[in-house]
């Protein structure tokens, strides 16, 4: 082997891509040729430096969470309610073991279970919105601690006017609001803060639908529900369940005396 032949093989050899025959002949050549041996050494040295000095970036935790949320959303396309149940059924019948079990259960218990599942979806959807807003840093579209700023902003963008209670006295600071989509409809989201915890409160007109379970935990977040003042109040937060429940009930009781 001459130096020209060796030149193209040295890199492949250093990368562990040379076959047995090539390895044998290149090794023989490197022993006898200082020029090519130096080239080989340079390559190994460069690799060692790259692995020591050039950072291998790891995916940030926030990205990992965002990816989970988007895969989650893809799993659950949520336009209209009928479509949702249909998709869910199709997914169930096509799918996983757990899905099959749930299908059987649904057959037995009937429509009540379907209602319950839809409510569960609202809670999951609310948590997904909360997580997405927190990670995407768009928790708040109208930032104000003044209920008289937040309320008109929301009312102007919705076909209803959500009450915006001021509970500063009780330790819950209003920090703003935003618009979200819940169950296929635009909904007002009030953002409160207590001791470094954000609480998202989704407020929408009370409906005849079966109310969601009063308290649930979805992916580590507590979801509390209450009805009052003509509205449905759905709170999502990582704050403790008791605090969240009493806060949501307090909101639902209205701005009057407790």
């Amino acid at each position: 082997m001459n130096c020209n032949d060796a030149a193209t093989l040295i890199a492949a050899y250093a990368d562990g891509e040379a076959d047995r025959l090539q390895r044998h002949s290149i090794e023989k050549h490197l022993l006898g040729c200082t020029h090519c041996a130096a080239k080989h050494q340079d390559l190994l040295a460069l690799r060692a430096r790259i692995r020591a000095e050039v950072p291998h970036y790891s995916a940030p935790a926030a990205l990992r969470a965002r990816v989970l949320v988007s895969l989650d959303t893809a799993r659950r396309p949520v336009p209209a309610r009928s479509r949702l149940s249909f998709d869910r059924w199709r997914w169930l019948s096509g799918g996983a073991l757990a899905g099959c079990a749930a299908t059987v259960l649904a057959w037995i218990i009937g429509t009540a279970v379907i209602d319950w599942r839809v409510n569960e979806d609202v809670a999951v959807e609310a948590v997904t919105s909360h997580v997405r807003a927190t990670l995407g840093n768009h928790l708040i579209q109208v930032a104000s601690s003044d209920q008289h700023t937040v309320k008109p902003w929301l009312s102007a963008r919705l076909d209803y006017s959500p009450p915006v209670p001021d509970l500063q006295q009780e330790g819950f600071a209003l920090i703003g609001g935003r618009l979200d989509n819940l169950d296929g409809h635009p909904v007002a989201t009030l953002v409160y803060r207590i001791r470094d915890h954000n609480i998202d409160v989704f407020v929408r007109p009370e409906s005849a639908r079966t109310p969601p379970t009063a308290l649930r935990t979805v992916r580590g977040f507590n979801v509390a529900h209450a009805t009052g003042s003509g509205m449905d109040w759905l709170g999502v937060s990582d704050v403790s369940a008791d605090v969240l429940t009493s806060f949501v009930q307090r909101l639902a009781r209205g701005s009057g005396a407790p």
Binding site: T8, A11, A12, D15, E17, D42, L43, L46, R47, R49, I50, R51, E53, V54, P55, H56, Y57, S58, A59, P60, A62, L63, R64, R66, V67, L68, S70, L71, D72, A74, R75, A96
Partner: protein
């Protein structure tokens, strides 16, 4: 057929590799996150094309495609690049770095800067080979080029690094910042 449960198993273990590639291609953390996020959504769509291929190479290929589409949308000028320019610009950039920067840190940083300054087509094969430790065949699959081209680009990338003025500029820089 989309199957998010399967996708999670395919994609999540390679999220670091995906982010690393996107980070080196975009040269920016936020942009890299957007590219990876997009790639995950695409992966869901293309999961049917996986048949028998290695999941990591398959996903990295999607990341790379997502990156080039992102590049077309956000920095179309970079698609046409002059390799000499790319290296020169980076030299200027390094030269104006803060003089008080620790000497040792500057030395460690120099090679990263030189890699960052490589033209895209060389940077991607180098990252895939040296940081992700992919085989020539896998790199050929990810970058959609023949194995021969992988070898020539890799050789060119290494040659550019070894000759990079950034690495040789260290001596000058250190003597300047020591003053």
């Amino acid at each position: 057929m989309s199957d998010p449960n399967r996708i999670e198993k395919l994609v999540l273990p390679h999220l670091d590799a995906a982010y690393n590639l996107a980070r080196w291609l975009t040269r920016d953390g936020n942009d890299a996150e957007d590219v990876v996020q997009d790639a995950c959504v695409r992966a869901l769509r293309y999961v049917g094309s996986l048949e028998g291929t290695d999941a990591r190479a398959w996903f990295l290929k999607i990341v790379r495609n997502a990156f080039y589409d992102w590049l077309g949308r956000n920095r179309p000028k970079e698609i046409v690049h002059d390799e000499n320019n790319a290296v020169d610009t980076a030299v200027d950039h390094a030269a104006e770095g803060p003089e008080h920067a620790a000497v040792r840190k500057a030395e460690l940083q120099a090679l990263s800067d030189a890699v960052t300054a490589l033209p895209m087509q060389y940077r991607e094969v180098l990252i895939l080979r040296e940081l992700e430790e992919l085989s020539y065949k896998e790199i050929a699959c990810v970058a959609d080029i023949p194995v021969g081209t992988v070898m020539s680009r890799l050789a060119r990338a290494r040659c550019l690094l070894q000759r990079s003025p950034l690495l040789h500029a260290i001596g000058r820089q250190t003597s300047r910042s020591a003053r």
